[in-house]
């Protein structure tokens, strides 16, 4: 048995060029499969950690997924807002440690504008409870100051001190500009891999201020309040779009959720972000599963190539098999010799693929972190991936039986004198 395996390895080495190419194709396909699985996993983690540390997200009553879409991902619009009074009631609840009010509706070159308070930079966390950090500058302090996300800064080439104007409404074209009240960029956030990167942050007061001379979504004709006078008005917001709530104790989360959902003054909805994000992923994760299926098929193609190469070599090896038979190899030995070859190549290919992927992710992890904010933790193998690799080996075992069986039949038919 041991000798057979040694023989199999030496025989494979003798055909190293063709088998080497097949090995390469298998290792590439395994690297692709693992890579897709890893990116998928990281993307899902990253997605599900778009917010962390926030116990509840509160908005006007709608579906939980809808609420997450606009409150966290800033996609679509809220059907209703929350009255300022409701916000204050929730913030005053004894179970609540902190709140982040968010006000949405304006945009800047297609990027959403989010009105909030300075608490945002203190309490908003993402990923594994990572706080927001500034790659440059500091939080907004004055009325017409803005903090931009990493992607906004990169795409539009902003630096601290640049002047920007906001547009009324969301979208990219045909919007009226709040041109009379320009903002200056005071800070640029480091990449997070979350919607924060695509967001322009201003204070709630600023949102009020730019809409002072607006009514019903349009500028009031012939009426303008210059920027320098805006601060003289009462800029307390009348409404916010959503609230992120942090509790003193996580244990109180369901009680708090119920009390928000039963709030009498207006219909509100509180959702646990983790649960809602999970639901949302079920929808957007389909593409990723399709990608995984495609890379699975690439592995199958690789294995088919391997089988074709081994089967093709069988005819040239009839003499070799006859010699082995003559010195006493059983047909079963011949079967093992040929089957182990496929399995051996797949094993090597899988290991090589893993090494390849590890090397690649080690090289590109800093780049990916810098550009996309996706944290790729250089790990060798996870439990899920082990299952995937087990599957690959299982399929290759099945596929390897084919040339083994071919050789078995051939050696039975040929005996000691192959008819070539």
């Amino acid at each position: 048995m041991k000798y057979l395996l040694a023989l199999s390895v030496r025989s494979a080495w003798n055909r190293k060029l063709t088998l080497g190419l097949t090995l390469l194709s298998i290792s590439l396909s395994v690297a692709l499969l693992l890579g897709v699985e890893r990116v998928r996993q990281d993307a899902q983690d990253s997605f599900e950690q778009s917010v962390s540390g926030t116990d509840l997200v509160v908005g006007a009553r709608t579906s939980p997924v809808q609420l997450m879409l606009y409150a966290v991902f800033h996609i679509g619009e809220a059907t209703n807002n929350i009255h300022w009074q409701s916000y204050q009631d929730i913030a005053a609840n004894p179970a609540v440690a902190w709140t982040i009010p968010v006000s949405l509706g304006d945009s800047h070159h297609g990027f959403p504008v989010l009105g909030t308070t300075a608490d945002y930079f203190e309490h908003f966390h993402y990923g594994e409870a990572q706080p927001l950090t500034f790659s440059d500058g500091k939080p907004f302090a004055g009325l017409f100051e803005a903090v931009v996300g990493a992607e906004v800064a990169k795409n539009l080439g902003y630096r601290v001190g640049d002047k920007i104007t906001l547009s009324h409404g969301t979208g990219d074209i045909g919007l009226s500009e709040h041109a009379d009240k320009p903002f200056s960029v005071t800070g640029i956030l480091a990449p997070t891999g979350t919607p924060v990167d695509r967001t322009v942050h201003v204070s709630l007061d600023a949102i009020e201020a730019i809409h002072l001379d607006w009514q019903g979504g349009a500028k009031i004709p012939g009426f303008a309040i210059p920027a320098e006078y805006a601060s003289k008005f009462d800029l307390t917001p009348k409404e916010v779009t959503a609230i992120m709530v942090g509790l003193k104790s996580r244990a109180a989360v369901f009680k708090m959720q119920r009390s928000v959902n039963e709030y009498r003054a207006e219909p509100l909805l509180a959702v646990l972000p983790g649960v809602a994000l999970d639901q949302l992923w079920q929808v957007v994760g389909v593409a990723e599963r399709a990608l995984l299926a495609v890379s699975g098929m690439v592995v199958v193609v690789g294995l088919c190539g391997l089988m074709a190469v081994i089967l093709a070599s069988l005819n040239e090896r009839r003499r070799e098999l006859a010699i082995l038979r003559s010195v006493g190899a059983r047909p079963m030995d011949v079967f093992l010799l040929l089957s182990s070859e496929g399995l051996f190549i797949t094993l090597c290919g899988t290991l090589l693929g893993m090494a390849l992927l590890t090397a690649l992710s080690a090289i590109f992890a800093p780049l990916i972190q810098a550009h996309y904010g996706l944290t790729i933790i250089p790990k060798f193998i996870s439990y899920d991936e082990l299952g995937l690799l087990g599957l690959v080996m299982g399929v290759s075992l099945l596929a390897s039986l084919l040339p083994g069986y071919g050789a078995y039949k051939l050696s039975l038919a040929d005996g000691l004198t192959p008819r070539i």
């Binding site: 025989s11 010699i323 038979r325 047909p331």
Partner: protein, 237 residues
């Protein structure tokens, strides 16, 4: 009295799906130390006879016994073991496994047979010593032994194959046209070496060839066409 080394009685063989019997032998007998030349032109049932003796084919009727053991009653894997333990084969050409060195090709016989390994070890030599000794006797220079076999001449390859057949003293050596790829001079030299080593090892040699001129120096000559009744019947028809 010792068992005959080879004893065939009333043997008939038919290939699966074939209409007629391919080999039909009344009797074939060989004792220890016999060196038998079997004359067999192509189509006379040579390969079939070798397959039957090697235990990779099973007869339709009749018995084949090697060293007193009846092949027809043995399981296929027991026949494989018997072949590994007691028979050395030399084929026409391409006798060697291309990815093994000369020495590893010679030792291949011992890999599948514990008995042959023990034979060598019992004589007090290591397997490599035994291989080296045989290769010496068969005029394979020491510097060739670690070369890939594909670099050897055809004559050298056949001598290495002979060493593989002879190593660890099998009782039977079966040579199937081993000289057909050699020129006349080398044919004689190879035959002499093979005979000499078989005598030295007290092995029974079965030498099959279509070339009758090689028959000198054997203890007996058998013509397969006259031995094979199936062939005779076909020619008569």
């Amino acid at each position: 009295m010792a068992n005959p080394v080879i004893q065939i009685d009333n043997l008939a063989f038919r290939y699966p799906k074939a209409d007629s019997v391919c080999l039909d032998i009344q009797k074939l007998h060989a004792d220890a130390g016999d060196r038998i030349f079997i004359y067999g032109p192509s189509g006379s049932g040579k390969s079939t006879l070798l397959g039957l003796l090697g235990g990779v084919l099973t007869p339709e009727r009749g018995t084949i016994s090697l060293l007193g053991r009846e092949l027809t009653t043995m399981s296929p894997s027991a026949r494989d073991r018997l072949r590994a333990d007691h028979i050395g084969f030399v084929f026409q050409q391409f006798n060697l496994i291309p990815y093994l060195s000369v020495t590893d090709n010679v030792l291949l016989s011992c890999r599948f047979s514990a008995r042959r390994r023990n034979n060598a070890l019992a004589s007090g030599y290591s397997l490599h010593d035994e291989a080296a000794r045989l290769l010496d006797h068969l005029d394979i220079a020491p510097e060739l032994r670690h070369r890939p076999v594909t670099q050897l001449s055809v004559g050298q390859q056949q001598r290495v194959a002979a060493a593989r057949a002879l190593i660890c003293r099998p009782e039977i050596v079966i040579a199937d046209e081993p000289t057909s790829a050699l020129d006349a001079e080398r044919q004689t030299a190879f035959l002499d070496l093979l005979s000499r080593e078989c005598i030295a090892a007290a092995a029974t040699l079965l030498f099959v060839s279509h070339d009758r001129r090689l028959a000198s120096g054997f203890t007996r000559e058998i013509a397969l066409p006259s031995l094979n009744r199936a062939q005779a019947a076909q020619e008569a028809a």
